[in-house]
Structure formats: C-alpha cells, structure tokens
Amino acid sequence: MQVTFKIWRQDSPSVKGALKAYKVQDLTEDMSFLEALDHLNEQLVVQGEKVIAYEYDCREGICGQCGVFINGRAHGPHDHMTTCQLHMRSFKDGDTIVVEPWRAASFPVIKDLIVDRSAFDRIIEAGAFVSSKTGTAPEANAIPVPKGMADKAMDAAACIGCGACVASCKNSSAALFTSAKINHLNSLPQGKAEQHQRVAEMTYQMEQEGFGSCTFTGACEVECPEGISILNIAEMNARITKSKVFG
C-alpha cells in the first residue's frame, strides 16, 4: 500500500516547525505504524536526508514512550491503544496521515515528534512513593489487602506515563496521570501513612508544571491506552478535600 505522511518537522525547541509531506510506497497492512515510519526513515537516509526523530522503545504497548498525535487523535484512530500497537491495516491505500507531536506547554518539543515529558517524573518525585527503605518491610502477608482493593489499586497503577491524557486534553490537564498514581498508592494500606501529604505535594507539583485544569471532557480516558477511568480524577478531588480537612 501507499500513503502520504504529513509529519511535523522541527529541528530544535527554538525554531519554528511545520508539516512536511512524504509519499511512502511499498507498505503492507501487517506493518505497524512505527515500522512504516522506520521504512520512511530508511528511504530518507538513502536520499541523504536527516531522519525524522520519533520515540519508541518496547513496541509492545507498555513502556509509554511512543506517543504521537496521528490524524487528530492521540496514538491514532483507535481508543485505548498505543502508537506502537497501531497497524497499517487501520488505514486505507492512498490515505494521508497527519503526524504531530504532543502539544502542551509542559511538554516542549525537543525535535520533530519528540517532546520532553520530564514534568511527569517531577510529579512522581513529589510524592508517588512509600517512604520505606530497602530492608525495612514487614512480612508480605502481614497486612491483608482485600481483592477488591488490590484490583482497584491495580486499575489505577496500570498507567504507562505516555502523556496521551495531556495531549488529548484541550486544557493539557495532567489530572488523569496524577490522580491514577495518587489513587493507586492511597487506596493501599501501605500508602496510607503518607496519603495526605502525597495528595498535597503531587497536585501542587502538577500545578507548578503548568498543566491546565480538568474540565471533564472525558477525552483522556478514551485515549488512555490502559483505559484508566476518569473517575480517578473525581476521586482525587475528594482526596484533596480530605487532605485539606484531615491533612
């Protein structure tokens, strides 16, 4: 099959970028979207041009590195999917595919389709941990965690940190990311000791990073590869209130 990619090219954060069109032939439906880009890059090398910079690592939907905006959707046309899981069979022969980097003030473009998501790391740094040193843990079965509670924590913990929530949110809100982490740890007995501080510090850091506020459009939960529920954000709001009252 043959498609035309319109890809955002931007050499560095300081210069202006623009979409550039590339016609790519000899693609097959079995190819993943990223393999199609690989294929394009090989052509560019042979032509002596600089390759398109885009990110990926695991290519099995779990590392969270491969986020790009494809034809107006985070990670492409399907719900709950990463870019690396998208295959060319989702497109038609002759399609034009627009590829842009995540757009958010807190995710500045580094080059072409690569953005800097270190703001997420700093939110984690602010409190997404249990302050127990290695070697200090009690016996694992000493504190029972009911299945429902463990499952709920796991649902929230599944976040892969790809940034699709921020990218697809018209306000660039990081509320889904932040709330998922808060709810994962705060709902487990191990995370209870620091629950209020965690909520306060992580949400504060989220604001400091310049993310927008959540207006519950619901785009994030549709684009989230792990299908993390937007209810996490509502729960986080309740936890903020709780931390103001009891914290």
């Binding site: 393999e35 690989d38 002596g48 779990i62 590195q65 249990v130 290695t134 965690v145 796991m154 913990a157």
Partner: protein, 636 residues
C-alpha cells in the same frame, strides 16, 4: 589470570550470612564522600541506585530513555518467583534453588543460585511495602500461580503487568531519592565508554542524546545494569533501544564476558509477519498454565484451526513431556516448536507458528475466569493481530528473549575489572544455561536491592583512602577522544546502506546459526558471514545528520557496530562449547529422541572470554557441585 569467584565458606545456607559478617563496612559519614555511577535504570539499576542512595552514597544514574520508567523491565508480564511457600505445596528455598540450578542445566554456581532463592522471600515483602498491587485472594492474602519448569506455585504477579508494576515501584523509590537530592538522574544519556584508571573502574563517557555532546563522569565505582543484548538477533522480544554497547565497551576495557552464547529463545512470542518487522511481541508464558499447545497431525494442513477435529491435533508437548506437559521449560518448549515447524507442521500464513489454545480452559473454568487471568493479554493479542483468541487459538512462535550470558561476575557481582559491577540481566550469574520463567525480575531485583548494596562496600572501603578520580585525568581525555574518533569514523563512511539493513543481515545470520540449535559448520559459516557484515558495515553504512544533535540514526549505528562484534563472540563461544546444555543446543550432541546431551566431564565450567584486540581468549571457571549432584535434566 585465574578467575576467583570469591565464594564464601560454610554450608550453602550459611554462605551469604558468612559473607556479610566478614565484609567491610563504611561509616555513614564516609559513604557520603563516595560516588557511585549506575548505568541503566531498570529493576536492577533503579533498585541499586535507590538503595545505595538510601545507604548514603552519592549516586548518579544514567539511562538512554526519556525517563527511568521506560526501562525494559517494564515489559515482563508473567511474574516473579519467591520461595514463600504460601500455597503450602512443599516449596522451600532449597527446592527453588534446585529448580533454578536444574533449569539452568547445572551451568551456574550453587552459591549464587542458592542466594537468589534465599533472598526471594524478603523481596516480595519489599515490593508489597512499596505498594505493588500484587494479585490477592478474596481474604486479602497473596495469590500464586505456577510457571514453566516447576511443579509448585511460587509465582507472584500483578495482572499481566508484573514487570511494569515492579519497575514503577523501583522508579518511584529512585525518584524519591532524586527528590531527596541523593541521586542525580540523567535520562537521555547513553554510556559510550568505560574509564579505567590504574586497573580500576573510575568513570564513564556518555553522549547526551539531546545535544550530542560527549560528557565525562568520574566515580569511585561503576555499576552496569544495562540489561540483555538479544537485539543482536534484531528480531527479539526486547525493546528497540536495548543494546549491548555498555557491556561491550567494558569487555573491551578488560571485563571478561561470561557464556555470551547462552540466549533464551522464548516459546510464546507472536510470529514474524513481514520482513519489515522490528520486534516480536511476547505473550506471557503464564498463558501456558491454561493454554494447550498443538499443531495439526497432518503436514501443511490448510484448514482453519477450529475446523481441525480433536483427534487430528498433536499436543506435542503433552506427548513428549507428560509430567510437565505445556509447562516444560522454555528452551525445551521452544526447541519442540522449532522441530514441529521445521518438519512442516507449522501453522499461520508463513507456516512459522504453532497454536496455543484456550478452548479447553474456557470450557473448564468459564470465560470469566480466563478473562480475569489473561484479559489484558488477549486484548493485546487482538490489537496486534486483529484476532479474537477467545474464539480461535492464538498463533505463537519462538523468539529471542533473554541473555543468560553477560559480564562474568564473582559472588560480589564484581566483574574482572575492580570497581566495575554488573547487576541484573547484563551479568552472567544465576541462570546457568537457561533461565526459568519469572526468575528474571527476581534476579534483577535481588541483585540491585539486596546483593550489590551489601557487597560494594567491601570494595569501596578499600578505595576510601585513595584520591577521588577527577574528569581531567588523562584516561578520561583519552577515552573521550577515542569515543569521538569512533563516532567520526561512523559518520565518515557515508556509504549507501542503512543501519537497519546491516542489522537485518546480522540478525538473519545469528537467528539461523546461533539461536535454538547450533552446529559446527553453521557457526563457522556464521563467523565468516559476520566478519563480512562487519567489513561491509565499515565500508558502506550511511548515517545522515551530525553527531552534535539528536540523531537517532547515529545512536542505532553505534549500537549496531558493537552488536556485530558481540555476534562474533557469541558464535565463537557457541562453537567452542561442544555439548548441549540448556538453551545451548548443539546438534552434534543429542540423543536419538532429540534430547540434549550434556558433557559434564569436559564442560562443567563457565566460559569467561577475554578481549584482546579483536580476538577472544577463553578462561574457565570450573563449577564445583558440592551440595547437589548434576543429573540429566529430564522433564518427561
């Protein structure tokens, strides 16, 4: 040079305790003055960096990804083993030790393997305390399942995302120490060389992947936690960025490479579908708990899976290994699949797969139970292949997966370069010639959290009085200049072929001759072919862009240049070891039934290779089995 494994005295059960009692301690005030570099931020790296920082060392941690959370530990799906005996099924540290040693076909040290089993239980405690949402029973206690190669249930898991959850716990703990200003985290920085001063590891040269600048970092000790190198096959279950460069640079600077050819081929990956494929996605081995593997009894059977009646299906694992059945260890399951595929029974469009069928499990346990156990794996399968595995069997195929081989390390996890440590998958330590399922996350974590932080002090106590290295030392000068010259050389070739072209060529040779089954003629041919690829690479590779910018093509080229040389060593090692053991199957050494023949008399040692300007010298660490008797590994 004699290889000194430094195994402590005493009974197997007492060795680790005896070691700790005798190792040197450093007082907290002095720890602050000692700088440790950790390269890699996966489970081993992040665990080590966080724990060393908690102990008071001054730590710098590097990774090539944009965040520590991307490290490929994240992709391990199935679980982590621990000898907790929560299921009351007769498990114990000893049994786990024995399973691991036997699983590795008696090609690892007893003392190391025992320690792995011994430290597994506190590791689960640790991860639970860090907030890992392991699967639970309704009553709140932890759930276990069984994994390939064992008959007890000792695997802990967090849905199909165990690796991710453990890595996120380690990453969180690491960033807690970043917040506390005890760790400096340097993502998007790739190590390109090791700096050795007076025979000791004292620093690294890295390339800032955003600006392209080369930078020097000095430290009192360097810890490599850079993971596996199965991307040498190009098509593997590894992340695209996974590479062997840090190991290779260390090897070239004097660290011996242990059992480089021991590579695990995982039986349950998705089959290759095209030439352009960049990666083979792994489906968790846990699927083999409930799924049954089969091929049609008729060759080149073109019927759809569901149209083939029960009596015309060959459940070959159950047939050949009745007591372990579908849960036979990975090397055996992979080889059995290859045997069927090569014999013309393969299924799928390219006839390169076998079926993994859940029909019986769904009939027996109900759809809801199977969905609860494997739901996300089935979803993933559908995303990639477009096939609903609840209605028809999955198609799976073997794929290059785990590197048992790695830098040779002693009991302290130190390489043959003093002050250079290797932890996790990048060392050769506990798994012997084959790794058991769910032991990978375990080894990475135990190395990083529990072992290294208790052994590195033994070395650092000795260097405390020495002058701290600085980056203006002539060795740093020299190393940086060499790295720059290497980069310039790659860019100067300006040929006609892409990096991926050469990687595909290398991968084909390695997969053909140095994967599931190997033979003398093939390996000799491979050595010649790889030398040819190497020559062509340096004559005809083309990399566009410059080195002073973010240049993913250059990154790939530098990694591939090292993979090519590593491929030569792997084939050399496979050729030298004239026996079949674990994942290393030499066709010349098999029974009439096709089972492996181990040659203990001659090959009961760990091969440790020394680099000498393009040639490799073999050193042997004899394996002494004091506590168990190596037996023929039978899973019948």
């Amino acid at each position: 040079m004699k290889l000194e494994a430094k195994i402590p005295e005493g009974k197997l059960e007492e060795k680790w305790r005896n070691y700790q009692v005798k190792s040197q301690l450093i007082n907290p005030a002095n720890k602050k003055k000692l700088k440790v570099i950790v390269v890699g931020s996966g489970l081993a790296g992040a665990g080590a960096a966080a724990t060393l920082a908690e102990l008071g060392y001054d730590v710098q941690c590097f990774c090539y990804q944009d965040s520590a959370r991307r490290a490929h530990s994240v992709a391990a799906q199935g679980g982590i083993n621990a000898a907790k005996n929560y299921q009351h099924d007769g498990d114990s540290v000893w049994r786990m030790f024995y399973d691991t040693l036997k699983g590795g076909d008696f090609r690892s040290r007893e003392a190391n393997t025992y320690r792995l089993a011994e430290l597994s239980a506190p590791l689960i405690d640790h991860f639970v305390q860090q907030g890992v949402p392991f699967a639970r029973e309704y009553g709140g206690t932890l759930v276990n399942r069984s994994f390939g190669g064992v008959q007890v249930q000792r695997t802990f898991y967090a849905r199909g995302q165990t690796g991710q959850q453990l890595l996120l716990a380690a990453y969180s703990q690491l960033y807690k120490m970043v917040q506390a200003k005890k760790v400096e985290m340097l993502p998007r920085n790739e190590m390109l060389d090791l700096v050795v001063i007076d025979g000791k590891a004292k620093g690294i040269i890295v390339r800032d992947l955003v600006t392209g600048a080369l930078k020097r970092y000095a430290a009192d000790a360097v810890v490599l936690a850079t993971g596996g190198y199965s991307r040498v096959f190009r098509l593997s279950t590894l992340a695209i960025g996974c590479n062997g460069s840090a190991l290779w640079k260390a090897h070239k600077k004097g660290a011996f490479f242990g059992a480089p050819s021991f590579t695990q081929i995982h039986p349950t990956a998705l089959p290759q579908s095209s030439e352009a494929q960049s990666k083979l996605t792994l489906m968790s081995e846990s699927l083999r708990n409930d799924g049954r593997i089969w091929v049609p009894k008729k060759q080149e059977d073109s019927r759809k899976a569901n149209d083939i009646p029960e009596e015309e299906r060959d459940y070959y694992l159950e047939r050949r290994y009745p007591s372990f059945g579908n849960l036979a260890p990975r090397d055996i399951a992979s080889r059995a699949a290859k045997e069927r595929i090569d014999a013309g029974y393969g299924v799928g469009r390219l006839k390169n797969a076998v079926y993994l069928d859940f029909k019986h499990a769904i009939e027996k346990f109900g759809l809801a139970t199977i969905q609860d156990r494997y739901g996300n794996l089935f979803t993933m399968y559908k995303k990639i292949t477009g096939i609903d595995a609840y209605n028809e069997p999955m198609q799976i195929s073997p794929a290059a997966h785990f590197s048992m081989g790695g830098l040779w390390v002693d009991y302290e996890l130190m390489t043959t370069i003093p002050g250079l440590y290797a932890v996790g998958e990048c060392n050769f330590s506990d798994h012997g010639a084959n790794r058991l399922g769910a032991n990978s996350l375990l080894q990475a974590s135990v190395d990083g959290y529990f072992i290294l932080p208790n052994t590195i002090n033994n070395y650092l106590a000795g260097v405390l009085k020495e002058a701290h290295p600085t980056t203006d030392h002539p060795e740093f000068e020299k190393a940086e200049a060499a790295v720059q010259a290497h980069i310039d050389r790659v860019l100067a070739v300006n040929g006609t072929q892409t990096v991926d072209h050469f990687h595909r060529e290398l991968g084909k040779v390695m997969w053909q001759e140095c994967a599931m089954s190997r033979n003398k003629a093939g390996l000799e041919k491979a050595l010649a072919q790889i030398s040819q690829i190497k020559a062509e690479f340096w004559k005809d590779v083309k990399v566009t862009g410059s080195d002073k910018e973010l240049n993913t093509e250059l990154e790939k080229a530098l990694r591939l240049a090292d993979f090519i040389e590593l491929g030569l060593l792997m084939c050399t090692d496979a050729l030298q070891r004239e026996e079949s053991c674990g994942a290393h199957f030499r066709e010349e050494y098999q029974t009439e039934e096709g089972e492996a023949v181990r040659v203990d008399k001659e090959y009961s040692y760990v091969s440790a290779w020394e680099y000498d300007d393009g040639t490799f010298t073999l050193h042997k660490e004899e394996l002494e089995f004091e506590f168990v008797q190596p037996t023929v590994r039978s899973y019948k």
